[in-house]
């Protein structure tokens, strides 16, 4: 983040605005009574476009219907990096709020001058500026006289919470009507004039190289326009999508591949992760002031498998060349970052590349959106100026896109004679959780690794703790243990490609911490909720735990076959607070019946939007916990369809209740990733409550429960 040094006595600008200070890059008044707002963040199904429209309309005192939200692009939008990390409200929202406040002030000054009225006597209602003596003008009347082509200053303060009319209200999302009436909004549904269709050929075995390619079969397919080959990258372009499918199928028959690189043993991920070369980082240490001695040590290991983003839509992109310039349409989460990587691969200045966002399906992190954009660019280069649309297959989406990284987490807790925690050690082994494009001197895009002159395969890294960390996200306890040491081993080899998946390491770490705490509380015979409250000092943390306990009537009476468990976390330790209680039923096969959650995001701009995100996160986490695991043998990814990579179905979805604690005076934070960790832990702890066994390896399947039972008996 770009932190600007604050001017004396003036508050600093929000980081996103400091980085993109020109006011006109954020908003413009059009003649027809509209305002166009251009955030750098993109809609990925989280409702951000609506929340940002609310913020802008509120600050400008205009009706929401006057706000037109512009899709992000490298020609027209501020550069706000990537839409990730539950930061869009925090970054874009604050920037936009400040920018609109300043623009409002500039127009009021102009109006005061034109109307000859004192600025403090003016009011704005739906864009009409009026003052005493029935004088009036409007944003739109003044628009030609006012230039917004200058930089924001930090001198204007946005409205106080109580004066906002829209923020805090559950406005209906502005993108939903298009989606239920099937008006083309997704990139998948766009057709450019003269558009061709491309498909890319990829090996089944991991990182196999293309040693031979016979093209005759593909050449014989009607409508074929081009076959592209550059090293191990190969693809076809056809007049029709059907033709492209047939041609790539024929091309596959003519392809000979090398064996590829070996994959680890999917049934012993912890040993694999711990045996790999790695880079050790000490994330945090805390030293005790007292010198209590340990009576005993509890040591537990938790694991999480590789998890697929598994978007419902296979990734898609369009590209069109014009000489040495290329225009790209993408559902990437970061248009500027994708552009930077495309420039590296194409060896072109960034100015030659325009990247424009169009909505895709939910991505839940870094999926194949960026990869397919490079595929489209490379295929389109062969067809002289016609646009090419490329869509991945389901199989490709499930095997060639980056995965959320597998993790092994060990926690050792030293307990004194009274069973109190006096020392805590938390160690993580995992590949890095981030290999997004646009952040390194080498590209992160799949095809770049396959070219005749390949770029080196990027090894995932972890963002620093100051940005929330990666594999170590949420590993520093929020509890007041007297001493701890947290360390992270980031693998420096990467046989399975990983990158950002919702929460990065947060889900794994919260699962581990909240599971062992539950175990320690149970051993002490202490209520797990009371145990947590006793170790927390942050009142907002305690409030979500108390609220969820009230809502779920903690703890309901014991019934055979039913279990209750709790989990808590504050996302990234700096974001949204969330506590969850799970109610599960079952023996060897478990059903999550109900999830109750309490959440605090500070000011909730759109409360129903926050609840929707929390519900969705809770259900997705349930799916991860009960079902999800990327499968592979020693050569290739084998979970390439919904049969082999099942996710939670309608009949398996728990009831979800969400209580939102509103704090309008506290700066808002995002909600998209708050639920995953707490829900994961709550389900695991409920399994123990119901069955008396601890399952410490995700997913919690029938086999794992039976194995845990056998271990106990």
């Amino acid at each position: 983040m770009n932190q600007q040094a604050p001017a004396p006595s003036q508050p600093a600008l929000p980081a996103s605005l400091a980085a993109n200070p020109k006011l006109s890059s954020w908003l413009k008044f059009s003649s027809a009574g509209q305002v166009t707002v251009s955030p750098g963040k993109v809609e990925i199904g989280q409702g951000i476009v609506t929340a940002l429209a609310q913020i802008a309309a509120d600050e400008l005192d205009i009706d929401l219907s006057r706000v037109q939200m512009i899709r992000a692009s490298t020609v027209a939008s501020p550069n706000e990096g990537v839409t990730s990390g539950s930061l869009s409200i925090q970054q874009s929202g604050r920037a936009l709020r400040h920018a609109c406040a300043e623009v409002r002030r500039i127009f009021l000054q102009q109006a005061a001058e034109r109307l000859g009225v004192d600025i403090d006597a003016l009011e704005i209602e739906d864009g009409t500026i009026s003052g005493p003596g029935n004088v009036r003008t409007s944003y739109w009347e003044l628009a030609d006289e006012v230039s917004l082509d200058h930089n924001a200053t930090s001198g204007v303060t946005p409205k106080i919470a109580t004066r906002r009319a829209l923020a805090g209200n559950s406005i209906q999302r502005i993108d939903i009507p298009d989606k239920v009436f099937a008006r083309p909004r997704f990139i998948h549904d766009q057709a450019l004039a003269g558009m061709l269709h491309g498909r890319v050929l990829r090996p089944e075995n991991a990182r196999a190289k293309l040693s031979e390619l016979r093209e005759d079969g593909a050449r014989a397919v009607a409508g074929l326009v081009a076959i592209v080959r550059d090293g191990s990258f190969a693809g076809v372009v056809s007049e029709t999508e059907h033709g492209a499918e047939l041609a790539v199928r024929a091309l596959r028959k003519g392809a000979v591949w090398s064996d590829g690189d070996p994959l680890p043993d999917e049934n012993d991920l912890a040993s694999f992760l711990k045996a790999q070369p790695s880079e050790l980082t000490v994330i945090d240490t805390k030293t005790a002031t007292s010198s209590a001695t340990a009576a005993r040590t509890i040591r537990r290991q938790y694991t999480r498998p590789y998890i697929a983003h598994a978007s419902i839509a296979p990734s898609c992109a369009m590209a069109q060349w014009d000489g040495d310039r290329v225009h790209v349409w993408t559902h990437s989460q970061g248009v500027y970052l994708l552009r930077a990587d495309l420039a590296l691969v194409l060896k072109l200045p960034v100015e030659n590349i325009t990247v424009e966002h169009m909505e895709g399906a939910g991505c839940y992190g870094h999926n194949a959106a960026d990869d397919v954009a490079l595929d489209a660019v490379l295929l389109a280069r062969a067809v002289g100026g016609r646009p090419v649309r490329v869509q991945w297959s389901r199989q490709g989406e499930m095997s060639d896109a980056p995965f959320g990284a597998a993790m092994a987490i060990e926690i050792e807790a030293d307990l004194d004679a009274q069973g109190e925690i006096i020392e805590w050690r938390h160690s993580i082994w995992s590949n890095g959780h981030a290999a997004r494009p646009g952040r390194a001197a080498q590209p992160a895009l799949l095809a770049a690794f396959e070219l005749e002159k390949p770029f080196p395969r990027m090894i995932s890294t972890n963002p620093p703790q100051a940005n929330g960390g990666g594999g170590d996200r949420n590993s520093i306890p929020l509890y007041d243990f007297p001493s701890w040491r947290i360390e992270s081993h980031r693998l420096t080899t990467m046989p399975i490609r990983t990158s950002a998946l919702r929460t990065l390491g947060g889900q794994g770490n919260v699962f581990a911490i909240e599971s062992i705490l539950d175990e320690i509380a149970a051993e002490r015979g202490e209520d797990p909720l009371a145990f947590r409250l006793r170790h927390l000092r942050d009142e907002r943390a305690k409030d979500v735990i108390r609220a969820v306990a009230r809502r779920a009537k903690w703890k309901p009476e014991k019934q055979p076959g039913i279990g209750y468990g709790i989990g808590f976390g504050r996302y990234k330790n700096t974001g949204a607070y969330c506590a969850a209680i799970a109610e599960i039923e079952g023996a060897e096969e478990i059903t999550v019946r109900k999830l109750t959650l309490a959440v605090d995001v500070g000011e909730a701009i759109n409360p129903d939007g926050v609840i929707n995100q929390i519900e969705g996160g809770a259900i997705q986490a349930t799916s991860w916990v009960l079902k999800e695991r990327v499968r592979f043998d020693r050569q290739r990814i084998t979970s390439t369809s919904w049969t082999e990579y099942p996710i939670l179905r309608f009949s398996e979805v728990p009831d979800v209740e969400v209580e939102l604690i509103q704090r309008p005076d506290i700066d808002p934070v995002g909600a998209g990733e708050a639920a995953h960790g707490p829900v994961t832990a709550a389900i695991a702890n409920a399994v123990f409550d119901a069955l008396g066994v601890r399952v410490r390896d995700l997913p919690i399947t029938r086999d794992r429960i039976i194995a845990a039972m056998e271990l106990t008996s």
């Binding site: 057709a191 389901r394 309608f650 009949s651």
Partner: protein
Amino acid sequence: MPSVRFRLNGVETEVDADPDRSLLDILRGQLGVTGPHFGCGAGECGACNVIVGDRAVSACDAQLWSVADKDVTTIEGLGTSEQPHPLQRAFITEQALQCGYCVSGILMSAAALLKRNPSPTSREVKEALDGNLCRCGSHNRMVRAVLRAAEEMAAG
């Protein structure tokens, strides 16, 4: 090239194509009907669901010949913003989606359900939608929306 005739959203339609081609290919390609979405190509996710006769089927998995002389309804034929189907209204009221890519198929499964069972229970709605995958976790809102639409239709 042989031709196959069917009624698409009430309109007589004739397609010159190999009858073994997938219905989804024909709808999205030759006919430019993009409401049904490609998700998996194997009938496993329901994103491409359409109604054939009175049943919801995966268009990716249905061959063109199988709809000969039949009524095919896609999301485009369900309703418009001027004349929305109660399900479309209810999905807006309940804000029953996040990314929305799966929704056009889910609306068709739900519409087929309400035709054969105008007052389903929540369990019956879940069963009817079990072949539709949603990755964002909007399931409960969608179930509520279907129940709301059913009530609205019952009230006339």
